[in-house]
């Protein structure tokens, strides 16, 4: 079985702070990490590799600095790593990104594609389903469990707000997984020792099956109109009132904030 896992290098958003004076993001010194949901996806692929044997290829689109994340994937147990890196991809939104990834997938051999549910920098959760559509593959999103059945189909658990759907999928498909369901393994020491002796293949746009006019900015229907920091919190109010008044105050605030 050949599994492709899509991974993305992201800034660790829990480490991002706002400049209190300028109100802008401080990105300096913020570490880059493998996106947590993607890492969960890699873990699922590696578990399948452990159980039934599989060849796991990790792919990513990004700048050359993403090399270190692909080495991490190799040290965790991936068999092959490909970085799609080309100026032609610059400015891609989710549609253009998923299109480029689909061009790469088309020239690879695969039975299953796994992606993370969403990336912590954008939180869109769009690249996975968009990629599935480009490749004309069935998709299952919000996956918390997947196992191979004797008939070759996959039995998948999909987590919704109020239920878990148990789904059976036939043939090739794309799954997007939740990090919380797949605790990623650590890199092994021997994997780390070998990581820089192995190859991370860097591919440019001409190696993949795409119409170059649909890449990058040109292939992106959405544009960022503006971005701005979240409004700063106004100082709170403290009331010393009767219990009845207190309850009313709370209820009206909860309504104002649409919490109830």
């Amino acid at each position: 079985m050949n599994i492709i896992v899509c991974i993305k290098q992201v800034p660790d958003t829990t480490e991002i702070k706002i400049d209190p004076v300028k109100g802008t993001l401080i990105r300096e010194g913020v570490p880059s990490i493998m996106n947590p949901d993607d890492k969960g996806g890699l873990e699922l692929a590696l578990q399948m590799k452990d159980k039934v044997g599989a060849n796991v290829t990790v792919i990513s689109m990004g700048p050359p600095q993403a090399d270190v994340m692909l080495r991490e994937a190799l040290a965790m147990g991936a068999d092959r790593a490909i970085l799609l890196s080309d100026r032609k991809f610059a400015g891609a939104d989710t549609l253009a990104t998923s299109y480029a990834l689909s061009g790469l997938c088309r020239v690879l051999d695969y039975d299953l594609i796994i992606a993370g549910r969403q990336a912590i920098d954008g939180d869109t959760a769009q690249v996975g389903p968009e990629l599935a559509e480009h490749l004309n593959l069935p998709q299952i999103t919000y996956v918390t469990d997947a196992k191979l059945l004797d008939n070759g189909n996959l039995l998948v658990h999909k987590e919704n707000e109020d239920s878990v759907q148990v789904l059976e999928v036939e043939g090739k498909c794309l799954l997007t997984v939740l990090a919380s369901a797949f605790e990623p393994r650590y890199m092994s020491v021997s994997g780390i020792v070998e990581a820089y002796d192995r190859e991370v293949e860097v591919w440019s746009a001409d190696k993949i099956d795409v119409d170059e006019g649909k890449l990058g900015l040109a292939g992106s229907p959405t544009k960022v109109f503006q971005s701005f920091p979240k409004a700063m919190k106004a100082p709170g109010e403290v009331h010393e009132v009767s219990e009845e008044e207190a309850v009313e105050l709370i209820v009206s605030k909860l309504k104002e904030k649409h919490i109830i």
Partner: protein, 338 residues
């Protein structure tokens, strides 16, 4: 076809087990504003099996037209079945804007459709408005949080139609229901390519309300020393139940064995960032504040008006939680029933 030929604001009216979800009404409320600004109509899409008779409800919440697809294939939500049906409607009707709830259904289907339609899609929006561009055409401005909520971004689709967004549930305002409001109900019969139905629903397991991770909770009712004991926490639990939230604790109440460690908020416990954090009888030691001060909205109830918790609270109440919490619970229960 030109951009201006795409008309009307479509809302995907999500239903589960035949029950139209609250987010659908919220989207209709927002769609109503947008459509009025554009001088266009609000069209709701109602897909499912045996749901036809609910179309009128959508009209009463703001839809001018409801397109109904009522067929056994759509009984349960499955990506391909739903995507095919919605795609055919969009392809047929050429809407200007399409809104979906940012739920596991909306966020599964909308990107699938965006890719099929080569349309722009903005995820998990918290604000929508139409504004003129340089050519004086009105376009949709979708604003959403990014970078873990540290930054807000406004997204536009300058060249493509429809303009699509998934919208965070609980953010938009529903319209006041107008019983007897008039509208059109149109039935639509999609032509399914069943060869693409590769995913089969084996079973649906209803989630039981188990002890979930407090760091994932949207609403937390948290107690400190002022709660005194287990009975005190029962009052907090009742409030949390009404609000659909969970109970958390300060370190003091974990150390004395009243609450389990999984519930502890703070430096030696968990860092939480819910939409609502109700701090009851928590003085607000720095170690506790470090674990919760990023919460969106903080209500503090404490007897001591000098308690440091009030410095981070959006709303502070100086008073006895043992009286206020049960009264508040009762009041909210009535509110919810309405």
């Amino acid at each position: 076809m030109e951009k201006k030929d795409y008309k009307n604001v479509f809302v995907f009216a999500e239903q589960r087990e035949g029950v139209i979800q609250s987010v659908a009404f919220e989207l209709l409320g927002k769609a109503r504003d947008l459509a009025d600004d554009l001088g266009q109509k609000v069209v709701a899409l109602l897909l499912g099996s045996g749901i036809k008779d609910q179309a009128q409800t959508l009209i009463e919440f703001g839809a001018d037209e409801v397109i109904v697809v009522d067929t056994p294939e759509l009984k349960d939500y499955l990506s391909e079945q739903y995507s095919q049906a919605v795609y055919q409607i969009i392809d047929d009707r050429k809407p200007n804007i399409v809104l979906y709830g940012a739920t596991t259904i909306g966020r599964d289907m909308a990107p699938r459709l965006a890719s099929r339609l080569k349309a722009g899609l903005t995820a998990d929006c918290t604000k929508l408005e139409v504004k003129p561009n340089k050519e004086e055409e009105l376009e949709l401005h979708s604003t959403r949080p990014a970078f873990g909520g540290n930054l807000m971004a406004t997204i536009v689709c300058p060249n493509t139609r429809p303009q699509m967004s998934t919208v965070r549930p609980g953010v938009m305002q529903k319209m006041q229901r107008q019983p007897g409001r008039q509208g059109v109900v149109t039935e639509f019969t999609p032509i399914f390519d069943t060869s693409k139905f590769k995913v089969k629903l084996v079973e649906t397991i209803k989630a039981d309300k188990q002890m979930a991770d407090i760091s994932e909770a949207k609403i937390l009712v948290s107690g400190g020393r002022g709660v005194h004991n287990r009975e005190g926490f029962d009052k907090l639990q009742a409030l949390a139940d009404v609000l659909g939230g969970q109970v958390a604790s300060s370190r003091a109440m974990v150390d004395n064995g009243v609450m389990p460690h999984e519930c502890q908020v703070g430096q030696t416990g968990k860092t939480v960032r819910p939409n609502l954090y109700v701090a009851c009888g928590i003085s607000g030691a720095i170690q506790h504040l470090a674990g919760m001060e990023e919460s969106d909205f903080i209500i503090a109830i404490n007897k001591d008006k000098f308690a440091p918790i009030f410095s981070v609270a959006d709303l502070g109440i100086v008073g006895d939680l043992h009286k206020i919490v049960p009264m508040l619970t009762e009041r909210l229960r009535k509110e919810m029933e309405q």
